[in-house]
Symmetry: C2
Subunit: 192 residues, 2 copies
Amino acid sequence: MAGRTTAEPATRRRGNTRAEIQHAALSRFTDQGYDKTSLREIAEDLGITKAAVYYHFHSKDEILESLMGEAITRLDELVSWVHQQPPTREVRLELITRLSAAANDGLGDLMRCVQVNETALASMPDHVNLAHRYKHELWDAATPPDASVADRLRFRLAVMAVLLASKGMAELGGTAQERAAAALEVATELMP
Amino acid sequence: MAGRTTAEPATRRRGNTRAEIQHAALSRFTDQGYDKTSLREIAEDLGITKAAVYYHFHSKDEILESLMGEAITRLDELVSWVHQQPPTREVRLELITRLSAAANDGLGDLMRCVQVNETALASMPDHVNLAHRYKHELWDAATPPDASVADRLRFRLAVMAVLLASKGMAELGGTAQERAAAALEVATELMP
DNA sequence: GTCTATACGTGGATAGAC
DNA sequence: GTCTATCCACGTATAGAC
């Protein structure tokens, strides 16, 4: 499934092999899952060999880590911004807007990969474990300490909606843009 | 992680080995993921050998299938009920109530396993592919064909909340009961 | 920077004894 | 119904040539 573009025709010029590996890996990890993706497949997508992949990354884990590192960088920006704001509804709504923008940029693809590979990520070192980071930093950052369980749930669903609607919820129908807009709308009314 | 009870002390009496395998497998699959769980581990949890497991199941897949079959049975009851109801808000709310009850029974554990093993399930035959079944049957069953994308999203989030709040969202804090109650509350206000 | 060749471990699965 | 022993395929990773 998910027809790869058989050995990347014109795109292959020396110098960006590393980035191409990341790109192919993200695609495979998301479609088939991290565990079911072999380095041989990734190599074949680019028309190179396993050994060539090992020149750019020391291990399979390192590829996933590099991907997560990108997502973490972007989420950390948002977390540190939110940390120096008061925990008001306005701030939470602004956070949602920024999350939505990031999701429609490149973060949405990364978050979909995270969602789909929850278990693979769980058995990785903490500093690359997105699940841990964004659950306990992003969630908590914007939620007042005395918030009710229901309010925490509302916030969590709102974040989930904007992060996943455009890329991870194609079953809803409509275009990615329509889903993103709908997510913003629903997140706003949901936000405590 | 997730300390298994080292070789099941008194619980082991002949005749329910199959059920014990299912139980151990569900626990492992949920904690570590399907791919990272070996038959050796499952066997060791029960103090038997790999070969003994193969007496009860023809393959590793079959264990997962048997687990999913259970979930499917329970979801199918709800789907067929909903199919012979009009697509009104009252019906959707009643569906949520029933889903919540099922989730707090045993369905919640199964759905958590589904959530965590999305990719493993994706590469399995359709008739056991929960993701496919409940997404396209359960979602669509209760949603009028002309519903907006936003309304579909609201319904999806509501279902997700009640199915996962008690078992799959421990980070929210509170007891499983509190989370289940909160999920019902949020799902109700979310429901279109 | 990319290749071929290969070592090594692991896990699913089967055969056949008890 | 459970065991021991074994087979085989595959995937990660490394060594060393080009």
